[in-house]
């Protein structure tokens, strides 16, 4: 076994409401939606109109600037709405599902016997390509690129993250098939990054066709960007691809079963859930049936598709995000707190020891979405550095983004970071600066200027 790289800089935020490893049943959702906002930088072009009938795997829309990349319907049924926002921006394509899913048929084949071009073609046609993302920029991979390597992180260290071993139970065969297909896409290696403490499953330990690397330590150790930084940092002009384990399974199913089957387990967690546990759903499902009767309702709540650091807020009958494998429910916290900044703060979580909660390090917190302060100019320094396990100067990078200095962004390592890697910087920021938004803004600017 290779050496275990221990990530020391970072922070584990202990939240109440971790999901029990129990798979509960929920009524099947009737509506599903794919949201273009889940794909940063995408300009979607619709392929279907309202009332069109689609099968699972039929394209709903495609990338205007790269028409090969399709975004497929997760179920079969009827397109019932295309919800638009300001300037007719597409927000959601909503599908009313049939009671029995009809699958579009794709080629069933052993990926080991296929060429790179054939695999690419299958992935693009079926819409599964949209799960492959690239570094730099954290956007969907470009079909014409050949990445220097492909990275899969087999564990998630984010607050209340789903247990990936549990998510992949019974999927070993599809996972391996997916890995086989991915291995063909790169001239370099296919890295599977595991954590000896979190990954006990044979799905990972017996995976073939991969180079296993081990990581341990605090969040963001599970972020694939951090792992890439420690295995083979991104340089200018290089491209690497990343994909998550459940999505590798989707690819595997395409080749073993010949269908676009994107059913997945997700974790329902957070302090406002009565009994946090796992559910089996299909991607893009409405969360209404899952949440029904499961929430404590003594207070205003916030439903998040994804984790508390990088997820997006959805309504109680909103739809699950494309890449998300957890739903987190926390209190909204939109109330005033009398002299809150001066209280001892036993219930408050802080990386600094300015609140007395540091006396109880193992406590699980019930944190809300309150900012706990107002936006301010940068004052404190050295705080971001404590939670970014990369050889990148986070504050200087953020400042170069603020002043839109492209050269400096490039020099300071914009190619190496994704917004999620700096999510903890945003969490700990004393001045409440929106770090992830800024990183995304910087990336958008780079894409615009470099193309």
């Amino acid at each position: 076994m290779s050496e275990v790289k221990k990530i020391k800089k970072g922070l584990d935020i202990k939240l109440a409401g971790k999901a029990e490893k129990v798979l509960e049943k929920a009524d099947r959702s009737e509506t599903y939606a794919i949201k273009p906002s889940n794909f940063p930088g995408l300009t979607p072009k619709l392929k279907v109109k309202v009332d069109a009938e689609v099968k699972a795997g039929d394209s709903l829309f495609f990338d205007k600037y790269c028409p090969e990349i399709n975004f497929a319907s997760p179920v079969s049924g009827k397109v019932i709405a295309v919800n638009r926002g300001e300037r007719r921006k597409i927000l959601e394509v909503v599908i009313q599902a049939d009671s029995e899913i009809q699958y579009q048929e794709f080629k069933k084949a052993d990926p080991n016997g296929l060429s790179r071009e054939e695999i690419k073609e299958e992935l693009l046609k079926s819409g599964l390509w949209s799960f492959l993302r690239q570094r730099p920029y954290d956007v969907i991979a470009k079909p014409e690129d050949t990445p220097k390597a492909i990275f899969v992180s087999a564990f998630d260290t984010a607050p209340l993250a789903a247990d990936i071993d549990f998510l992949l139970e019974g999927e070993a065969e599809a996972f391996q098939a997916g890995l086989d297909a991915l291995a063909k896409l790169t001239d370099g290696k296919l890295f599977l990054n595991t954590n000896p403490n979190l990954n006990q499953s044979k799905t990972f330990s017996e995976a073939k066709n991969v180079e296993v690397r081990q990581f341990s330590g605090v969040h963001p150790a599970g972020n694939v960007g951090v792992q890439i930084h420690h295995i083979s940092p991104m340089n200018k002009g290089e491209v690497a691809w990343v994909i998550r384990p459940q999505e590798v399974v989707f690819i595997g199913r395409l080749f073993t079963k010949g269908i676009y089957d994107v059913s997945r387990k997700i974790a329902l967690c957070g302090s406002e859930v009565k009994t946090p546990c796992y559910f089996e759903i299909i991607l893009g499902a409405s969360v209404r049936n899952i949440l029904k009767g499961k929430l404590k309702d003594d207070e205003k709540i916030r439903v998040i598709s994804g984790n508390v650091l990088t997820g997006s807020q959805i309504s109680e009958d909103g739809f699950l995000g494309f890449y998300d494998s957890q739903i987190t429910v926390i209190p909204e916290g939109d109330n005033f707190e009398f002299l809150g900044w001066a209280l001892p703060g036993l219930q408050k979580f802080s990386m600094s020891r300015t609140f007395f909660s540091w006396l109880t390090p193992n406590k699980e917190y019930r944190l809300d979405a309150n900012l706990h302060g107002e936006h301010r100019a940068f004052v404190m320094t050295g705080v971001y550095d404590k939670v970014l396990p990369m050889d990148v100067l986070p504050m200087q990078l953020i400042k170069s983004i603020m002043i839109e200095d492209i050269d400096q962004m490039e020099q300071l390592g914009i190619y190496e970071v994704a917004p999620e890697d700096l999510a903890l910087c945003e969490f700990v920021c004393t001045s409440k600066i929106n770090v992830q938004d800024l990183v995304r803004k910087g990336i958008d600017l780079m894409i615009k200027e470099m193309s």
């Binding site: 707190e337 408050k348 309150n370």
Partner: protein, 394 residues
């Protein structure tokens, strides 16, 4: 408390756009957010946030200053009664000190916050919490005999020229509190140096000169001669007195013990950078040792290196001034260099230039000026490393 909240909610529209007092919005908000942490929630990015904010940060620093302040109050009274040769009990000493010091604090806060509010109002910004700390630092580094109007002018100068012209909290180049002191020092030198300003309403039983002033006289004497030793025995307080702080000096700077309690609070809470604090002391000690080795005059030979760390404003500057995150170095590596050079410069100026016995202020202001340069080289090193990687791969 609900009644208060209701009252604020009722009055709030008056201060918002279109309201009767819309021009006073910043001031209203400053008071409102002082009373209540606002109900703002995050809308994008992380949904949860660390509970810390600038108000908490600044109030921790103010708390860390309280031991030095309390000791300053006591010492002011103590020195006064000592100098007039009268004995007084604890109560009298403290009350005397309070009467002398409280007005200075009030003037510093009223003038400073008044200007901060006015600027925030003019710019339509929120009032920043930065001055909560500066407003406490300024009185602590003033001589107790400082006339109040001079304190007011220095504070005003520090806030306007030291901070607001650069854009307010977070944008300033120099530590505002030190700007106040530097202004005071150069504008009214007779009130900031010599041996009559450090003790309130001084009698003539003891000399009012600070240990630093005595030490400076050593520079004229030859090293190793018996003369120096006798000067030390006569005037220079012993290390223990300097460590405890029962010596004449600026209000909050005399007691190393009180300062170390503050340092412990700052380091335990993680507010101040231990890198800076440690390297200032290391720098001072190293420079002191070098002087001990050179030994070209009595100042160099007869003041052991460790005494430099407890004399004058060295400890206070290291703990509370050098660690200011805005005017200090911002990169982790830069912090070591920045701190080390402050320590070195402070002792260097102090020993070599007898005209500036209190060199800590100058050392920190000098290194504040150079902090961006230090950062620049640290950043360049990071960039070079990244570029080198590309070349290796190609």
């Amino acid at each position: 408390m609900k009644a208060l909240r209701k009252f604020l909610d009722k009055k709030k529209p008056l201060f918002q756009k279109g309201g009767k007092f819309a021009k006073l919005q910043s001031s209203f908000e400053a008071f409102e957010t002082f009373l209540y942490v606002p109900d703002i929630t995050s809308h994008n990015g992380t949904h949860i946030k660390d509970a810390i904010d600038l108000k908490r940060t600044m109030s921790i620093v103010v708390m860390a200053l309280i031991p030095a302040l309390l000791f300053g109050i006591y010492n002011t009274g103590y020195q006064h009664f000592l100098s007039i040769g009268q004995s007084a009990d604890m109560m009298e000493i403290c009350i005397y000190g309070l009467i002398k010091i409280l007005p200075i604090i009030v003037v510093s806060y009223v003038v400073g916050l008044g200007i901060e509010f006015a600027f925030a109002q003019m710019r339509g910004h929120q009032v920043n919490e930065g001055f909560l700390v500066s407003g406490m630092l300024i009185p602590l580094i003033m001589p107790v005999g400082a006339p109040l109007w001079m304190v007011a002018v220095s504070t005003a100068f520090a806030v306007v020229i030291g901070k607001e012209v650069f854009g307010g909290t977070g944008m300033n180049i120099w530590n505002p509190a030190l700007i106040a002191r530097a202004f005071f020092f150069f504008a009214y030198p007779s009130k900031m140096s010599g041996d009559t300003v450090w003790i309130a309403e001084q009698g003539d039983v003891i000399s009012g000169a600070t240990p630093l002033a005595h030490a400076a006289t050593l520079a004229d004497l030859e090293g190793g001669s018996g003369v120096a030793t006798s000067v030390i025995e006569q005037h220079l307080s012993n290390s223990w007195d300097m460590f405890v702080g029962l010596i004449p000096g600026s209000i909050g700077e005399t007691s190393t013990i009180a300062i170390l309690i503050g340092a412990a609070i700052l380091l335990a809470t993680g507010i101040a950078s231990w890198r800076i604090m440690m390297s200032v002391f290391v720098g001072g000690f190293v420079m002191g040792t070098i002087f001990n080795l050179i030994g070209s005059n009595a100042y160099m030979t007869d003041i052991p290196a460790y005494q430099h760390l407890i004399m004058g404003g060295f400890a206070f500057g290291a703990v509370f001034m050098a660690t200011d995150p805005v005017s200090g170095s911002q990169t982790l590596r830069g912090k070591y260099i920045y701190g080390f050079l402050i320590g070195v410069m402070a002792v260097l100026i102090r020993v070599v230039n007898a005209g500036f016995p209190e060199a800590m202020m100058l050392a920190i202001l000098l290194m504040n000026t150079f902090a961006p340069l230090i950062d620049h080289y640290v950043i360049q090193a990071n960039i070079k490393k990244r570029l080198k990687r590309v070349k290796v791969n190609v």
